[in-house]
């Protein structure tokens, strides 16, 4: 995936100082999960299961249960988004990369919870999932900044996640970097960047991708059908946002 992952663990005063072993364990579980998913699903690795499926060496029928489960999940999203999100490229090649990063973050979050970690912020390539609070037990939310697509060192806005807030996940998709990552459907949008906040990270990530691809109709579908907040940036720099992004 070529993705940088940042894991922030909040200090818990009640539990005393963290031991290096505990921190290492939490980091290791996240690293292993991302690495294993990458080995299976990366189209950049010629020997991966995904690559063998893409070139026809392997059929879905003989694919691993994990591959088939993600394929089924991606297809469900295609139906839910009216085709704005698709697990297949225009040339027909199966490409689950639009789902796998969100899935990896979701699974890493589950692993952290299973390790007993309650207060953390996980960021993989700009897609974020949080749990609890940066000040454990306080209800204070994590604060996320959203990059300005026209000036990558500036922020266009912020959003509160976790704590007492309703949304725990925030994902941003864009057309500027990795232009091939999102393919636009006919009559698609001029959105250069779309940020979606939702209760879970897969929903946030897929809706952000689908809105870049499907434009205004998909944006309205997303805000009608999901508990989602959206901040979209047009090619001319103007903004569209749901009320949760308003000051």
């Amino acid at each position: 995936m070529g993705t940088v992952i940042s894991l922030t663990l909040a200090d818990s005063p009640a539990a005393g100082p963290e031991t290096q072993d505990e921190l290492a364990a939490a980091t290791a579980v996240v690293e292993r999960l991302f690495r294993e998913l990458d080995e299976t699903f990366s189209l950049y690795r010629p020997a991966s299961e995904a690559s063998r499926l893409a070139c026809g060496e392997l059929t879905l029928r003989s694919a691993s249960p994990e591959m088939r489960a993600r394929y089924a999940e991606a297809h469900e999203w295609r139906l839910l988004t009216g085709g704005a999100f698709s697990p297949e490229r225009p040339d027909g090649v199966l490409d689950l990369s639009g789902l796998i990063k969100g899935h990896a973050i979701r699974e890493a979050g589950r692993s952290l919870l299973a390790l007993g970690r309650r207060d953390w912020c996980l960021n993989a390539g700009g897609d974020i999932l949080v749990s609890g609070s940066p000040v454990p037990g306080s209800g204070v939310a994590w604060r996320a900044g959203i990059v300005d697509p026209a000036a990558r060192h500036a922020l266009i806005g912020g959003y509160a996640l976790g704590g007492v807030e309703r949304h725990s996940a925030l994902a941003t998709s864009g057309s500027a970097e990795r232009g091939e990552h999102i393919w636009r459907v006919d009559g698609g949008s001029d959105f250069v960047q779309v940020t979606v906040a939702a209760v879970d990270v897969v929903t946030a990530d897929i809706l952000a991708t689908a809105i870049v691809s499907g434009g205004m109709p998909m944006l309205n579908l997303a805000t009608d059908q999901w508990d989602a907040a959206v901040l979209a940036v047009h090619a001319d720099g103007s903004l569209l946002a749901t009320p949760a992004f308003r000051r």
């Binding site: 700009g126 949080v130 990059v147 990558r152 806005g157 941003t172 960047q193 907040a229 946002a241």
Partner: protein, 76 residues
């Protein structure tokens, strides 16, 4: 939304909303629509007081110059 209609002589003479809360799907749909917004109207964030950064998928090289890298470095 539940409504009550009053019918007189075969015609609807009154429509009354009985229930309109945020639990109601339609009211969420209406209130959650995206609208144009000026940059000064967006929930603000200063890079000094955020703990994490969301942006479109970036390569490792792009990351090195990104704000997330600065935040991670500050936390070390």
């Amino acid at each position: 939304m539940q409504v009550q209609i009053t019918v007189a002589s075969g015609k609807i003479t009154e429509v009354t909303a009985l229930h309109l809360t945020d639990d109601d799907r339609k009211s969420i749909q209406i209130s959650n629509r995206a609208a144009p917004l000026l940059r000064t109207e967006v929930l603000a964030a200063q890079s000094a007081d955020v703990q994490t950064i969301s942006g479109a998928t970036v390569t490792s090289n792009a990351y090195l110059t990104s704000l997330q890298a600065a935040i991670d470095a500050a936390n070390l």
